[in-house]
């Protein structure tokens, strides 16, 4: 008995998991590849389809739900019918992992959703086709979105849509507190004072997730930054950032601001919908959540107030990444042109509430969704979070330290993050 026990099988399984990704030596099935029946993108250059249209395309997306899946499917089918190229949309269950496996087996999907931080990691290994400058609508994308997807001076991939953060206000609570449209806060002082007025025993004035992805807006408004303009020096431990965190900390100590997690909510939208907070800092995705989960809550969307450094918000975006190994790059480029066209993006906005990444769609979007104008107005001054390889860990570490903000000095947190961020930048 004592001589027989399993010899750490799970460790081995973990190693096997790690290496499931390097299966190219074996005939592995990469989740990013096409299901049986459709041609394999790696071997279909000598196409079974008529000679000219080019090899089949595989598109890997991480979908927010049926509305998004159906729309992408429809748009791709439209393009396929026009171009004669077969294209298949695969919905990933874990996008990052499936993409990793595709790349390590030299069999990546042709096109895929790619976040800013993943973009830098793949661009650093020359795995991406830097196609975006050659798009016919390349100049139509918002400049700070182009910047988000620029690596080493090259515009790598086309932003597929974007989101910004704004101030979401519960309309009923607002009027009940005797506030009017004129009271919508435009400065930090006003924000603090209305938050105080809106705070009761059951709710706080303002809530946000315990993460730099939300609190960072105050850093932007204070005029702070993460990395300097040439992208080599960390500037996290600046007096501006300290001022922003101190402001947040003071209001939390006063009880009018709170982390959504401290209210027992999974995210700001949940706290807002359940009436635990009268205002939250969230992005345009909140619209879908409110319609689905809390249809009875009336709300207003306002621009975030100005801080000592002016207006500030954070934007989030994904692009259409293209694998350098794709067998049909011209086809893939043409598909991206179709997917990012003004009409396609307006259809996407209609279907699942995102904002078009091209400036030419802004006016139409605003007139279609006037109540959400604050989100798209944020595009002008929104900042990007750092996305250099290795900075993902630093942001995660920043978030874990922010959870202890109520009991920690802002300078301590910023100094620690400064050190880690500089180390990550130096590693490149």
């Amino acid at each position: 008995m004592t001589h027989r026990f399993p010899r750490v099988p799970a460790i081995l399984a973990a190693s096997a998991l790690l290496l499931a990704a390097c299966g190219s030596g074996f005939e592995s099935e990469a989740p990013g590849s096409t299901p049986p029946g459709s041609a394999d993108p790696g071997s279909s250059t000598d196409a079974s389809t008529p000679a000219e249209p080019g090899a089949d395309l595989t598109i890997l997306i991480g979908s927010s739900g049926d509305a998004e899946t159906n729309l992408v499917n429809d748009l791709v089918a439209e393009w396929s019918a026009e171009s004669g190229v077969n294209a298949e949309v695969v919905v990933a269950s874990d996008l990052n992992q499936q993409l990793s496996q595709g790349f390590s087996s030299n069999n990546p999907p042709d096109l895929f959703y790619l976040s800013t931080d993943q973009m830098a990691a793949y661009a650093a290994t020359d795995s991406l086709e830097p196609y975006a400058e050659s798009l016919s609508n390349a100049d139509d994308f918002y400049p700070n979105l182009r910047e988000a997807f620029t690596y080493d001076g090259q515009f790598m991939c086309a932003p597929k849509d974007f989101s910004t953060l704004a101030l979401i206000i519960n309309e009923d609570m607002w009027t009940d507190a005797g506030l009017t449209e004129d009271d919508i806060p435009t400065t930090w002082e006003e924000l603090a004072s209305v938050a105080e007025q809106l705070t009761t025993d059951e709710r706080v004035g303002l809530a946000y997730g315990p993460e730099v992805q939300r609190i960072g807006v105050f850093m932007a408004e204070a005029g702070g930054a993460f990395i300097d303009d040439d992208g080599t020096t960390a500037v996290v431990d600046s007096p501006e950032n300290a001022e922003a965190l101190q402001y947040v900390k003071d209001q939390m100590a006063a009880g009018s601001f709170s982390y959504s997690s401290d209210l027992g909510a999974g995210w700001g939208g949940e706290a807002f919908g359940n009436g635990l907070a009268a205002m939250v800092i969230e992005g345009n995705w909140i619209a879908g959540a409110m319609t689905n989960d809390f249809p009875d809550v009336n709300y207003i969307v306002a621009e975030l107030p100005e801080g000592p450094g002016g207006k500030g918000t954070i934007q989030y975006t994904n692009c259409w990444g293209m694998a350098a190994l794709s067998d049909n790059i011209p086809g893939a480029i043409s598909l991206v042109e179709h997917l990012t066209s003004t009409e396609s993006q307006l259809a996407a906005a209609e279907a699942f509430g995102v904002m078009p990444s091209v400036a030419s769609a802004a006016e139409e979007w605003k007139s279609a969704f006037p109540e959400f104008a604050a989100f798209i107005d944020g595009a002008e001054y929104a900042i990007n979070l750092p996305s250099q390889p290795g900075t993902g860990d630093v942001i995660a570490d920043f978030n874990s330290q922010l959870e202890t903000l109520p009991a920690t000095e802002p300078e301590t947190i910023l100094a620690s993050v400064q050190q880690s961020l500089q180390a990550a930048l130096d590693d490149q």
């Binding site: 008995m1 004592t2 026990f5 399993p6 750490v8 799970a10 460790i11 081995l12 973990a14 190693s15 096997a16 998991l17 790690l18 290496l19 499931a20 990704a21 390097c22 190219s24 030596g25 074996f26 990052n96 992992q97 990793s100 790349f103 390590s104 087996s105 030299n106 990691a121 793949y122 650093a124 290994t125 795995s127 315990p210 997690s261 401290d262 209210l263 027992g264 390889p389 290795g390 993902g392 860990d393 630093v394 995660a396 570490d397 978030n399 874990s400 330290q401 959870e403 202890t404 050190q419 880690s420 180390a423 990550a424």
Partner: protein
């Protein structure tokens, strides 16, 4: 294994037949266990970027660099590993003794011949073991939410329950804080191991991790109860009768008779518990992804996230091997210890 004496062709064929019989298993184990392990070992000492096969040209041998970064550095990599090891250490220290003791207690209860409906209780106690851990995590997130049933029940006895899965405070820190001992001006704060200060090392499991500890005890006690029941049924009733004749009371019978006879199975249960708890992954992946404030980060989850989320495959592989080394060393130590001490003396 078949004897392989080279005595005549009949035996030679027998050996061949034996090899043929084990061949499928050997090939499967080799292909899906041995080869991946060796490949992971290579990745952990290489600079493979995750693009293309790890044996391709352009992938270089970097020696122990990845290990040095994790174990000897002062940066985030070391601190994350230190945090993960600390979290997991407290998890192991609490889960293994608790689940072993509770499993033994349950086994003795349901093994009593006089107990009514013991079939029902055996099934009930074993049930969590056959339930998917994902389902149990989801249940746990619900039970331990800020306004969930657990806090409701606590409020009946005038206890203001914590916001379990969002509370990063270490429970030892909370207890020490009640006595006025804090991290400020604490001599421990100056000490530093793996990027974590001494004060942080003694934090204990966070409130969030405590909820996972309760879950692990809840789910695995039933599994090990089964092993103990099997062992208890091997013990002859005469042994206990003899002890009774000698005048031993119930506690003496348990401590001096039953427990020493269960020693081999205690070893098995503790070993299995130790290995399982050092590898905790699925609860973290589904439940908290390492949060709040990294207090539920574990080495297994850190390895996954380094490789798949941050594309640092060599680091992910190196963490897996460090974890492997820890488990092997602890198992050997524990074997020496249990092998030497006589239980019940």
């Amino acid at each position: 294994m078949i004897a392989m004496r080279p005595r005549g062709s009949i035996h030679g064929n027998r050996a061949l037949a034996g090899w043929l019989f084990v061949a499928p298993a050997a090939i499967i184990v080799g292909l899906f266990v041995l080869v991946p392990v060796l490949m992971a070992a290579w990745v952990s000492v290489s600079d493979w970027s995750g693009i293309g096969p790890p044996f391709a040209e352009g992938v270089n041998f970097v020696g122990a660099e990845n290990y040095a970064e994790l174990l000897g550095g002062t940066g985030l990599a070391t601190r994350d590993l230190g945090t993960a090891l600390r979290n997991n250490l407290f998890y192991v220290l609490l889960v293994v003794p608790l689940q072993t003791a509770i499993a033994l207690g349950l086994a003795i209860l349901v093994n009593r011949r006089v107990m009514r409906a013991r079939g029902f209780f055996r099934t009930a106690f074993y049930f969590p073991s056959v339930t998917s851990s994902v389902a149990i995590v989801v249940l746990w997130l619900f039970l331990f939410s800020a306004t969930g049933p657990v806090n409701k029940v606590l409020s009946w006895i005038w206890i203001d329950g914590p916001n379990w899965f969002q509370d990063p405070r270490g429970i030892f820190h909370i207890v020490l804080g009640a006595f006025g001992i804090t991290g400020q001006d604490n001599p421990l704060a100056a000490a530093n191991f793996l990027g974590i200060s001494g004060w942080e090392w003694v934090a204990g499991p966070s409130v969030a991790m405590s909820a996972f500890i309760l879950m692990a005890v809840f789910t695995t006690s039933g599994t090990f109860m089964l092993l103990f029941i099997a062992a208890l049924q091997q013990i002859n009733a005469e042994v206990e009768e003899a002890a009774m004749t000698d005048g031993a009371n119930a506690w003496q019978r348990f401590w001096y008779v039953t427990l020493p006879m269960l020693k081999p199975i205690v070893f098995t249960v503790v070993t299995l518990g130790l290995i399982g708890t050092w590898q905790v992954f699925d609860q973290i992946y589904v439940g908290t992804q390492g949060g709040p404030a990294k207090t539920t980060l574990t080495p297994a989850y850190l390895s996954f996230s380094a490789a798949f989320n941050n594309h640092d495959w060599p680091r992910g592989a190196a963490i897996a091997f460090i974890l492997f080394a820890i488990i092997v060393v602890l198992t050997v130590l524990q074997r020496l210890w249990i092998g030497r001490t006589e239980v019940g003396r």
